[in-house]
């Protein structure tokens, strides 16, 4: 998507991919890779990144307990530089995204000894939710968009041109990065769950270790 706005890319960034991860799949992992390549191309030093499974209190029906979702995330990232972080899901209450970002900003800045800005890695549905009344606390949206940054990886069927017209996003398009997915692929956790339920193969859609874990724990059957 061509943009007249010059993008703001902090010097040191840490990628935070929030989500249910019910279960995690290869496109989630792929997104981190795509976003890292993008940030590096804009001159950033990507100090690291994580998947941060949502708290159980984020009530979505069919959401497995966070311990299991976290275990699968941990298995999935094992062969990479990414981590699966439990800070968000181990909080006693539902934790707002901004609070998660603030946590990692402090943690990573201390670790590096220089300022690290977390970037929220997300899909188009999250950016759409910025435009839905009541979904976000306005001050928190403002802080995410002005102090942090959002990198949205496009998915098939999403027309991303609308984002630049959302009132809350318009002034902050310099920190809203919309990047194409490396290829058209509509893999989703819903598809994975349905295939497992139907006793169909999910090999090559999720890592083998996650397949084993799901089978051993009879998940999604």
């Amino acid at each position: 998507m061509a943009s007249a706005v010059t993008k703001v890319m902090p010097k040191n960034v840490y990628l935070v991919q929030c989500g249910s991860f019910n279960p995690i799949h290869y496109i989630h992992l792929r997104n981190l890779e795509t976003v890292r390549d993008y940030c590096v191309s804009l001159g950033a030093n990507v100090v690291g990144g994580c998947v941060s499974p949502a708290n159980d209190k984020y009530s979505k029906s069919g959401l497995l307990p966070s311990a299991q979702r976290l275990a699968m995330c941990t298995l999935a990232v094992a062969s990479s530089d990414w981590t699966a972080e439990d800070w968000e899901c181990s909080q006693p209450t539902y934790t707002r995204t901004l609070i998660v970002l603030r946590h990692y900003r402090q943690l990573m800045t201390e670790k590096l000894g220089a300022e690290v800005i977390p970037l929220l890695v997300c899909g188009a549905d999250l950016l759409d939710s910025f435009n839905k009344p009541g979904c976000w606390i306005p001050e928190q949206m403002e802080e995410i968009l002005s102090q942090y940054g959002v990198v949205c990886v496009e998915r098939p069927g999403t027309d991303t041109s609308r984002f630049a017209t959302y009132p809350v996003l318009m002034p902050h398009m310099d920190r809203v990065h919309i990047i194409p997915a490396s290829h058209v692929n509509d893999l989703s956790s819903t598809t994975v769950r349905n295939l497992v339920h139907d006793h169909k193969s999910v090999k090559y859609l999720v890592p083998d270790s996650v397949i084993t874990y799901m089978a051993q724990n009879h998940l999604y059957e």
């Binding site: 290869y26 390549d37 893999l187 090559y204 859609l205």
Partner: protein, 216 residues
């Protein structure tokens, strides 16, 4: 449906489809066969001979090595027979060889079936692309498990003079996901120094790097 052996045609593919997702074709094909009562005894990837002169085709030894890596941890195997010959081998010959070999190995009457993407089956409609006798043999004697691909409308097959009459032996496999991952992307990523992680297995990424493949 009987006993089946699903042979992935990588004759036209392999330069192009190095990725993890091609093996998901095999998985989809197996699920389909099992759902239709077949006993799937196994399956393979068969990389094409070097004599298949396609620009940018890597040496067979590299392609076979990467095929083997891709198959690790699965029930599929990489078959080096086609690649080992000194001449281009037609797909139908690979199926004939497997027909004899698998029956002997398994002790059952097993039918090899060709697994391919819809774009490859579409090439049957291109005059001069395939010898007619070969197409007939593949369609009548073996059968095709054709995985849908973005960009090919498989409904058109039934009005094709070549494919239409053999509808019963052409099984269209719907992929649970739409995936247009291309080898061009994988090669471009190598050239640009971008990540191919999760597109191809780690072992293949390492092999590409160790052997300096796709750099130019």
């Amino acid at each position: 449906m009987g006993s089946k052996y699903v042979a992935a045609n990588v004759t036209c593919f392999f330069t192009l489809h190095l990725q993890l997702w091609s093996l998901s074709f095999q998985e989809n094909a197996r699920d389909y066969c099992v759902a239709h009562g077949a006993n799937v005894v196994g399956g393979c990837l068969s990389p094409t001979n070097d004599a298949y002169a396609k620009p940018g085709l890597l040496k067979g030894k590299h392609r076979l090595a990467m095929c083997k890596m891709m198959c690790e941890g699965s029930k599929w195997t990489a078959d080096g027979w086609e690649m080992s010959k000194h001449t281009f081998i037609n797909t139908v010959m690979v199926l004939r060889k497997l027909d004899i070999e698998v029956d002997l190995n398994v002790g059952l009457d097993v039918t090899p079936m060709l697994v391919c993407g819809a774009d490859l089956l579409d090439s049957f409609n291109r005059p001069g692309c395939w010898p007619e006798a070969h197409m007939l043999e593949i369609l009548e004697k073996f059968g095709v498990l054709c995985v849908e691909r973005p960009g090919t409308d498989t409904e058109r097959f039934w009005t094709s003079p070549i494919l239409g009459p053999h509808k019963a032996n052409i099984h269209i496999i719907h992929q649970p996901i739409t995936d247009a991952l291309s080898s061009t992307l994988v090669r471009d990523n190598v050239k640009k120094g971008h990540s191919n992680k999760y597109l191809v297995p780690d072992s293949v990424i390492k092999y590409i790097a160790d052997n300096n493949l796709f750099k130019s």
